[in-house]
């Protein structure tokens, strides 16, 4: 039912929508124009004292007897300052002399005097002109009419009857504007003030339909919940999956929102042409688990098979409880944000920290552990566009990069937040490893994302979407063990900062593996944190034998963690593990933890989807 009403509502709206705007606009104008001004009250002289009627010399009865026309009425009348009889046969009127009953013409001089006496204002009257043809300014009147125009600001014009010298109309520019919009309001383009024309009756019928169907749609489209501010409604969590079944992220919404709105508020813009009105059918999602019965709008846009598998229009799907939603297109749907590069700092030869200032402030969903997708445009770069500081020149010159670095198609690359947003003053901080591609004989081009990032300078614009991922600090104050390597520093560093910043008191261990000191990022920062916070310990593990100064551990990070912490730990069951790093390191660490009997629920990791 509702979809059909909606269809008819919009089609009728299309046909007479413009007239609707005109009705509202002209109604507004008529209401704004002061009625007294429209009626020219401000140029109307106060009514003169009624003069005593002079002794008439001829009886009206005599005149009536003389007249060839039937006379319905005789009355006393003043033509300018001259007393006359005014006779009427019901249709037209004429004047007779009170002395001898002879006919009295209305002369230009009479009209000038009548108009001048009726008018107040600073306009000067033009000489009266007898109208050749009656315009709409004197519609409804017949017979000869005199026109007297005044030279005031609002172009006052008085119309005087050529039959008996009465003032028929007092017009001015305000009236002309009023009359014009009234013509539009009445759809009365012949200007006869006829509002019973078939055109307006048809439009009015359409208007009534629009109003009635609009009321219906209003009740159909509003949920009671929408009148309650979102924060007073129960919170619900929607978990969003891609079509491949991969979990994208969880978004918070409130009971009573539609899924379309809940996702949109979290930057997941489902495709839609109609903006959530159930009329385009583009925002289809699949409800995992128990889907509500399909509405008529669902049935209109989605075939029965898909309805059975839980497909629904997101704009028609109220959030009632926590639920799971599958979204085709997944991550590509997330809103694009724009940011400006604030700084690009070479932390190590091939790890670079980028600070991006977003144009629109980031919401609380940007949590440590989340990653963004940087939108890499197509580019054509030269090798020397990849800038690097002098002290890393050797590292860079040992790479065999081609002269031209080309990316034809825009791509997206994921980078984790490497510092909590609030700690970075609202900025996004990323840590990007330069991926030189495969070196040696079977060359592979350098990484598209890192090539692009490494060419950026402060002030450049970057687009990204997100946040994504479900790698996050779990609530509760369990002892935490962070094990990472390579660019895995990024999310772990953000998590550590966030925990210590928020005053976490549980034990926090950070074991980080690098090949050598030169490639280990943020060492001093981590050491400083460890000095400052008694509950935080930092262990740098170096795999290359070349250097091992005091306090440095040699070997692979998972083994070092095992030896240094896990083997002697009294209660591994009450620890949480957070892992992030290159695939080999991650695999080795996870199997180590499994061997130690640590349940998978205790282990969170981010494999960078490699």
């Amino acid at each position: 039912m509702t979809p059909w009403i909606q269809k008819l509502h919009k089609w009728v709206g299309l046909i007479i929508g413009l007239q609707f705007v005109i009705w509202a606009a002209s109604g507004l104008v008529m209401s704004l124009l002061d009625t007294a001004t429209v009626n020219n009250q401000h140029h109307l002289a106060p009514a003169a004292q009624a003069l005593p009627w002079p002794e008439a010399e001829i009886s009206p009865a005599v005149i009536v007897a003389r007249e060839s026309r039937p006379v319905q009425m005789v009355e006393t009348h003043w033509l300018a300052a001259e007393p006359v009889y005014r006779l009427s046969d019901g249709v037209s009127s004429w004047l007779a002399d009170i002395r001898d009953g002879s006919s009295v013409p209305v002369t230009a001089a009479d009209v000038a005097a009548i108009a001048a006496r009726d008018y107040v204002g600073d306009g000067r009257p033009a000489s009266p002109e007898l109208m050749q043809e009656n315009t709409w300014e004197v519609r409804g009147h017949t017979g000869p009419i005199w026109r007297v125009a005044f030279s005031d600001d609002d172009a006052t014009t008085l119309y005087v009857s050529g039959q008996d010298g009465t003032i028929l109309e007092r017009r001015n520019d305000t009236w002309r504007l009023f009359d014009f919009v009234m013509m539009l309001h009445f759809m009365d383009y012949t200007r006869q003030q006829d509002f019973n024309n078939p055109l307006i009756v048809m439009a009015g019928a359409g208007g009534l339909w629009l109003a009635l169907s609009g009321i219906w749609l209003f009740f159909a489209s509003f949920r009671l919940g929408e009148f309650i501010p979102a924060r007073w409604r129960p919170r619900r969590e929607l978990t969003v999956y891609g079509a491949d079944g991969g979990k994208l992220r969880s978004v918070e919404s409130h009971s009573g929102d539609t899924v379309y709105l809940a996702l949109g508020r979290n930057g997941l813009q489902l495709p839609s042409n109609c903006g959530g009105g159930q009329s385009c059918g583009l925002c289809v999602v699949r409800v995992r688990g128990h889907a509500p019965p399909p509405s008529s709008a669902d049935r209109m846009h989605i075939d029965a098979t898909r309805l059975r598998s839980g497909y629904r229009l997101a704009c028609n799907l109220p959030v009632t409880s926590d639920g799971q939603i599958e979204v085709a297109g997944g991550a590509a749907l997330w809103t694009e944000r724009v940011a400006t590069v604030v700084s690009a700092t070479a932390v190590t030869p091939f790890l670079r920290e980028f600070v991006l200032a977003p144009e629109v402030p980031l919401g609380p969903e940007f949590q440590p552990g989340a990653y963004l997708q940087v939108h890499v445009p197509g580019y054509r770069l030269q090798r020397n566009d990849l800038d690097h500081p002098e002290l890393h020149r050797q590292d860079w010159s040992s790479l065999s990069l081609p002269e031209n670095l080309v990316c034809k198609e825009p791509v997206r690359r994921s980078y984790s937040l490497s510092l909590p947003v609030e700690k970075a003053g609202g900025n996004v901080t990323l840590l990007a490893r330069f991926s030189p591609g495969r070196q040696g004989k079977k060359q592979q081009p350098a990484g598209k994302g890192s090539t692009y990032l490494y060419s950026l300078k402060p002030g450049d614009r970057v687009c990204f979407s997100g946040p994504f991922g479900d790698f996050a600090i779990k609530p509760g104050a369990k002892e935490k063990v962070f094990i990472g390597g390579g660019a895995g520093m990024a999310p772990l560093r953000a998590m550590v900062h966030s925990l210590l910043e928020s005053g976490a008191e549980e034990r926090i261990h950070f074991w980080y593996g690098a090949r050598n000191m030169r490639e280990a990022p943020y060492v001093e920062e981590m050491e400083a944190l460890a000095r400052k916070h008694a509950n935080f310990t930092w262990h740098l593990v170096l795999s290359e034998a070349a250097e091992h100064g005091a306090g440095l551990i040699r070997g692979l990070v998972h083994e070092a963690t095992d030896e240094g912490l896990l083997q002697n730990h009294p209660d591994l069951k009450s620890c949480e593990f957070y892992l992030c790093g290159p695939p080999a390191m991650l695999a080795a660490t996870r199997s180590l933890l499994a061997r130690l009997g640590i349940a998978e629920e205790q282990v969170a990791y981010d494999d960078f989807k490699i």
């Binding site: 002794e55 007897a65 509002f195 009015g204 489209s221 839609s272 903006g275 009105g277």
Partner: protein, 230 residues
Amino acid sequence: MKPAFWARRAHKWIALVIGVQALLWSIGGLYMTAMSIDFIHGDHLNHVAAEPLPKQGDLVDPAVIAARYPAMNGFRLKRLLGEPIYEVHHAGGVDLVDAVTGRLSGPIDEEKARQLALSAYQGDAPLESLQLLDKAPQEVGTRPVPMWQARFGDSGNTALYFSPQTGNLLATRHTYWRVFDFLWMLHIMDYEQRSDVNNTLLRVAASVALLFMLSGVWLLFYSFRRRSAA
């Protein structure tokens, strides 16, 4: 969020504010345009006979009236219930003077009012009541009092109003007129006088209505695109 979303949202929320009034406007607008204004005016219910004045016959000379009314501003010679009569305007008001006998014949008494009502009324219902009113009912609030009200027992509850001073028909009222007037009141949102189109309420409502209509037109741009690539 896309513009389509905002357009839809704007249209929906403005509807919350102005929707009912928009419905009233459209109901009133349709009624007022679909009903012939002549019918609303009750032209089918009244007919005031307009006979010409007698061509012969000795009528009272105005000088006689002028002598009786020294402060006379003027007069009108017309027929009332078929009889020629002078309607004399003087500083004290309006008097009716029989143009044949010269006798004072006004103001209109109940018997004359009944005759006036019965001769003017074009329907086929009996006269139900006849009252001289000192306080004008709302439906003739702009007319001067006192006035004669003649009510007829037809389906439209027709009422004719006459001036006791001049005998003129002041107004014709019936159900369709009353509905029209009520809808007009709703249309211009002046619930007191039913005549002031410059009231603030209407101005605000019309402004919101304009936004409402514009948001609807804006929404039209998004409502006809089907599955084109988003």
